[in-house]
Amino acid sequence: MTDTPMLDVRDLQMHFPIGGGFLDRLRVGAGGVRLDNPVVHAVNGVSFKIARGEIMALVGESGCGKSTVAKTIARIYTPTAGEVRIEGEDIASYGFAELLPVRARMQMIFQDPYASLNPRQRVRDIVAEPLLEQTKGADDRKDVPRRITELLAKVGLNAEHANRYPHQFSGGQRQRIGIARALSVTPGLIIADEPVSALDVSIQAQILNLMKDLRDEFGLAYLFISHDLSVVNHIADQVGVMYLGFLVEHAPRDVLFARPRHPYTRALLSAAPSIKEKRETDEIVLSGEVPSALDLPSGCCFRTRCPFAWERCARERPALQDVGDGQTVACHLIDEPERDRP
């Protein structure tokens, strides 16, 4: 085992121009005629590393860019800027052919088990597809049927399930099929985008346990995207909190849940409902909603909803700074802790 992290993301940016046609973008105003170039700033410079066998979670609300990060790393999108290093190899600008061998090292599990399986393929064809892409020789392919049975057993399905179609399975079983498909090429990294949020809580527990078992067995690294803090607290080793395309806080799990520093993280943690009777009373209640990623606020992106914001926050965008214990926070409160009072 080397020191090279399984995944090393450096200053990843993903912007989507949503211009439309020439006439759509044409604006006639007091200052004359100009051409608009609206851009959605989905991801604005995100960096993190995931070691082999480690689970990193990205949390945040809808529109914070967490799924875009996942899809950009999986190279479903081509990043606007930044590096995506898989075991040291920068794949940010790879073309289709160059990506094919990379996909054997990196696979994805999707949120919706109903939409992510082809309804017209049998389970064995679904699971075999990545494998067949990766093995072109007839000799290698002899092994495929045996391998499929093995994979299905690993995720808790029977060999007889291989001949069925996706509609014959429940949501939890379909998610198992998706996991088997991802495992088929023995990847080192699995990108899981909200893998359990479409499932009932009892099924969710089954899938989370399965993912943990597979991590222990194969030494998989996961990038785990979720909006559910209790799920993240259960499964992750390190957690990144995203807001409007920025990483606002990043820490090992126990540090983050015991001592969240960024006001947004604190608000998220106190907003999460719990079956416990006692609630912390010092909760931060957020008013308002997430601003548009088309037109980012100046300075700190969170200041429009932050109960502590002052003029410095509008002027200056806070950078991630180290506060010890592997925790990094992007907030001016770290410099001026005396303002941390509602």
């Binding site: 989370l208 209790s230 607290n233 259960h234 719990s274």
Partner: protein, 328 residues
């Protein structure tokens, strides 16, 4: 508070007759709600919780049919009521908040018009008074510049704002019962906490009762006075919220609670309920939960358990109920 409950559901059976067999979505459900109470209706997908809500409002369409049972609102049976009578009840006496704020508002009408409709149908206020009532209601659910926003269309609002509008519409005619079907499931966690606070405050202020239908035990434990747990169309357990969460007596409730990832005492593995919900078209004889139950014995395959009183305020339908402190 009077002796008569606001709403009493007795032995409700709502079945769907499909080509592949009869789906007994709700099969003998009974409960009562008093004035000002919040009842949580909990269960996994396919448990029949939404169908209970639709049945109360008479919104069951063919091939579905209420086969038996009574739904008594102030002693008046809604199952036997005519469509015209039901129309007077909907929105006026009982209103509903649906899960998806994107589809429960009409995209072609302004928010103001959709709010006005409720008042036009159920009150005899003039246009000016209705407008004033709408503005006041929108402001009370936390939408600023309400008079202006009345002219806006649903697509001009965000998801959280839309759900506020839906709640405002539900509260407008001052109903005595609100049925909220997964009201915050489609929302982000910070917005969810805003909406839950709003609903709690509005219900307390107006003295209304609520049925909160959700799969999320955490949400329900923060909101409800009572909880009723459904499994395969039947009530498996009910009782006061704290009793039920702290020491459930039915193994299914225990399993649901244990499979929630806990932020306080974390275990390496989540305890899980094995297997999946059985096919509701041909349920096994005996207890519906026995295939997934760690306590199942021979009796469970033979005799269907009935709801019986357990410790505290709980009652559950189980031959081998859990005692407080006992593991499943």
């Amino acid at each position: 508070m009077t002796d008569q409950p606001l709403l009493a559901v007795r032995d409700l059976r709502t079945h769907f007759h499909t080509f592949s067999g009869t789906v007994k979505a709700v099969d003998g459900v009974s409960f009562e709600i008093g004035q000002g109470e919040v009842m949580g209706l909990v269960g996994e997908s396919g448990g029949g919780k939404s169908v209970v809500g639709f049945s109360i409002l008479g919104l069951i369409d063919s091939p579905g049919k209420i086969e038996a049972g009574e739904i008594l609102l102030d002693g008046k049976n809604l199952v036997a009521a005519s469509e015209a009578e039901l129309r007077k009840v909907r929105g006026r006496e009982i209103s509903m908040v649906f899960q998806d704020p994107m589809t429960s508002l009409n995209p072609l009408h302004s928010v103001g018009r959709q709010m006005d409709e409720v008042l036009r149908l159920h009150t005899d206020l003039d246009a000016k008074a209705r407008q004033a009532a709408c503005v006041e209601m929108l402001e009370s659910v936390g939408i600023s510049r309400a008079a202006e926003r009345l002219k806006a269309y649903p697509h001009q609002f965000s998801g959280g704002m839309r759900q506020r509008v839906v709640i405002a519409i539900a509260l407008l005619a001052r109903p005595r019962l609100i049925i909220a079907d997964e009201p915050t499931t489609a929302l982000d966690v910070t917005i969810q906490s805003q909406i839950l606070k709003l609903m709690r405050a509005q219900i307390a202020e107006k003295g209304a009762s609520m049925i909160l239908i959700t799969h999320d035990l955490a949400v329900v434990s923060e909101m409800a006075d009572h909880i009723t747990v459904l499994y395969c169309g039947k009530v498996v357990e009910r009782g006061r919220t704290r009793d039920l969460i702290n020491a459930p007596s039915h193994p299914y409730t225990r399993g649901l609670i244990d499979s929630i990832p806990d932020t306080v005492n974390r275990h390496d593995r989540l305890s899980q309920i094995p297997g999946t919900v059985p096919d509701i078209r041909n349920l096994p004889k005996g207890c519906n939960f026995r295939d997934r139950c760690p306590r199942a014995q021979a009796l469970c395959a033979e005799v269907e358990p009935q709801l019986e009183p357990q410790h505290g305020t709980l009652s559950s339908a189980c031959h081998f109920p859990l005692k407080p402190g006992e593991a499943a």
